[in-house]
């Protein structure tokens, strides 16, 4: 549970190039379109492809004033399982908090236990390989997150689409991303 009960706090873990920051920004924007107050911010360090990256979201029905870092997220999203051997992705989590993995089965962390958390699994890389023909797990992870948080898929898709059209200008790529989000939404499982 985050420090303020009326704010949902999310932490994204990925590697430079996987789009964790982009996903956090896209997620915030979509929630803003649904009438929520939002924050999205990355944790900046040396910028290198493949280096561990974290990004954060706050979502609330009320204006968000705090500008401190997120220490106790309610939800953790892990884009890359190889991070588990070097980073404690459960840091600051409390029992029953939620973790969404880009994985087909429950991963094993070498130095810490995952058994006290509510785990969600989605094969985001597999979906991305199939639909986008590249390993870009961030957009499918958005679909899985929306399902895990019980948010309205169509409303969110509309917002993602608008943003992606502005970014990519290629309708084909936008459609494929939307398809990947849908597939992840439909295939995420709660363990």
């Amino acid at each position: 549970m985050s420090s303020q009960e009326d704010i949902l706090e999310i932490r994204w873990h990925g590697r430079g190039g996987q789009g964790a920051k982009t996903a956090a920004l896209l997620f915030a924007e979509a929630q803003m379109h649904s009438g929520k107050y939002v924050q999205a911010f990355p944790e900046y360090g040396p910028e290198r492809g493949g280096a561990p990256v974290t990004a954060f979201n706050r979502v609330s029905d009320k204006p968000i004033r705090t500008h401190s870092q997120i220490e106790n997220p309610d939800f953790v999203v892990v884009l890359d399982l190889s991070l588990l051997s070097s980073i404690d992705i459960t840091e600051g989590l409390h029992h029953e908090d939620k973790i969404l993995f880009n994985a087909r089965k429950i991963p094993q962390a070498s130095c810490y236990s995952l058994k006290n958390y509510q785990i969600f699994l989605v094969d985001a890389s597999g979906i991305s390989q199939k639909v986008l023909e590249k390993n870009l797990p961030n957009t499918p992870m958005l679909g899985a997150l929306i399902k895990a948080l019980d948010l309205d898929l169509e409303k969110n898709l509309e917002a993602f689409k608008e943003k992606m059209i502005a970014k990519f200008k290629d309708k084909g790529i936008v459609e494929k991303n939307i398809q990947a989000i849908r597939e992840a939404y439909n295939s995420v499982v709660e363990i």
Binding site: Q39, H67, S68
Partner: protein
């Protein structure tokens, strides 16, 4: 009015697009780079008619601004940290020549050691250069402050350049909800820039930047000081007009639950939001605490601050930079001096925090309030300067 979710840098670039200055000269520096990067895209896409000058250094960028402003163009730049430090020589020249240049500054620590994250060392280092300095708590304030500042700087009785600050990364790269006004509304508010005089007006030639020795230098500098002092009145007038047209209220500072507060913090920038949450939490426990969030640091609204703090018993100043004087940070010096001649003794403590981007939590803010209460319970010698979250 359009509701959006934007980062601080995006919103500043958006305000600059709406203001559409005649000239922007800039050199990129983290974390302000995006401002001119986004703006240069507007130029390339033909969305603005602004002449964009990519300079070879910040010293050159601000020098270009001096030239263009002297030629009568509405002129802007943007920078941060070492970039602002490299401009330092010319920073004094712009207000001396009474050139109303506008500069968003993204606050970042100064080297060395090298660091890209937020503190206020860069703009505090420039506090005595003669520029108006306005600090923003969040993305919305960054947008609103930039729109208002154009009118303040360009007022024909002022003609003083201005800096509008945002906290590096926390605000510059943090996305938040923000209300953007229609282009027309912003353009109508800032209006067309009509320079009082321009060096390109050959029918009315004049000398700019001449030598002034002991017979006139003093008077010229005093006139410059009067101009920035006079901007206090204009800052409130523009805030009033802004409130009428845009619906949001601004002043020299914001009083948050301050009127009946016994203990208050004084802060600038993004930490103010975290303090408001801490104030609410402590008020829930029956503590009479409040916040004075300083928006205008130059000119310094000393009398008004004194009046606003007169009913408090003790205040803590949050300084995000050092003066290396052993006498606390720059905000502490100003505030302590402002309240010095209050009839009732007011305890003033300094809390140095967040240097080089170190995070300060709501819990730490609550501990500061508790610490002030403890330290000032009895009239005893107290340690005036403290360091928040400093490791042993």
């Amino acid at each position: 009015m359009i509701k959006k979710a934007l980062t601080g840098n995006e919103v500043i670039a958006e305000a600059m697009r709406q203001i559409e200055p005649d000239v922007i000269a800039a050199y990129p520096i983290t974390p302000a780079t995006e401002i001119v990067q986004i703006f240069s895209q507007f130029v390339a896409d033909g969305k603005v008619k602004t002449e964009f000058i990519p300079a070879e250094s910040e010293h050159s960028a601000i020098s270009c601004c001096v030239g263009s402003s002297a030629a009568g163009a509405r002129t802007m730049t943007a920078t941060s940290s070492q970039g602002l430090a490299l401009m330092h020589e010319i920073l004094h020249i712009a207000p001396g020549l009474r050139l109303p240049i506008i500069m968003p500054v993204v606050n970042r620590a100064l080297s060395s050691p090298i660091n890209i994250h937020c503190d206020h060392s860069d703009t505090m280092n420039a506090r005595d250069t003669g520029w108006i300095q306005i600090y923003s708590e969040n993305v919305q304030e960054a947008y609103d402050n930039l729109i208002q500042i154009v009118r303040i700087s360009e007022n024909k009785n002022i003609l003083i350049p201005s800096m509008v600050m945002t906290d590096g990364f926390v605000i510059s790269h943090g996305m938040e909800n923000v209300e953007i006004a229609e282009d027309r509304k912003v353009k109508d508010f800032v209006g067309e820039y009509k320079p009082v005089q321009t060096i390109l007006d050959t029918d009315n030639p004049f000398t700019l930047g001449s030598l002034a020795l002991f017979d006139s230098y003093f008077e010229i500098k005093r006139a410059q000081e009067k101009a920035i002092i006079n901007s206090k009145k204009i800052i409130l007038e523009i805030a009033e007009e802004f409130k009428r047209k845009f619906g949001r209220e601004y002043g020299y500072f914001e009083k948050y639950k301050l009127d009946d507060a016994k203990i208050a913090l004084v802060a600038i920038g993004s930490i103010s939001g975290t303090i408001k949450d801490a104030v609410d939490s402590l008020r829930g426990k029956g503590k009479k605490v409040g916040l004075l969030k300083l928006r205008v640091f130059r000119p310094f609204p000393a009398e008004e601050i004194k009046e606003a703090l007169k009913n408090t018993k003790a205040i803590g100043i949050l300084d995000r930079s050092l003066s290396f004087s052993g006498q606390g940070g720059p905000i502490f010096s100003e505030i302590r001096s402002a309240v010095f001649d209050l009839k009732e003794k007011l305890f003033v403590l300094d809390y140095i925090y967040g240097l080089g981007g170190r995070d300060t939590t709501q819990k730490e803010i609550e501990e500061i309030f508790n610490n002030i209460e403890l330290e000032t319970r009895e009239d005893r010698t107290i340690d005036l300067i403290k360091y928040v979250g400093l490791k042993n």
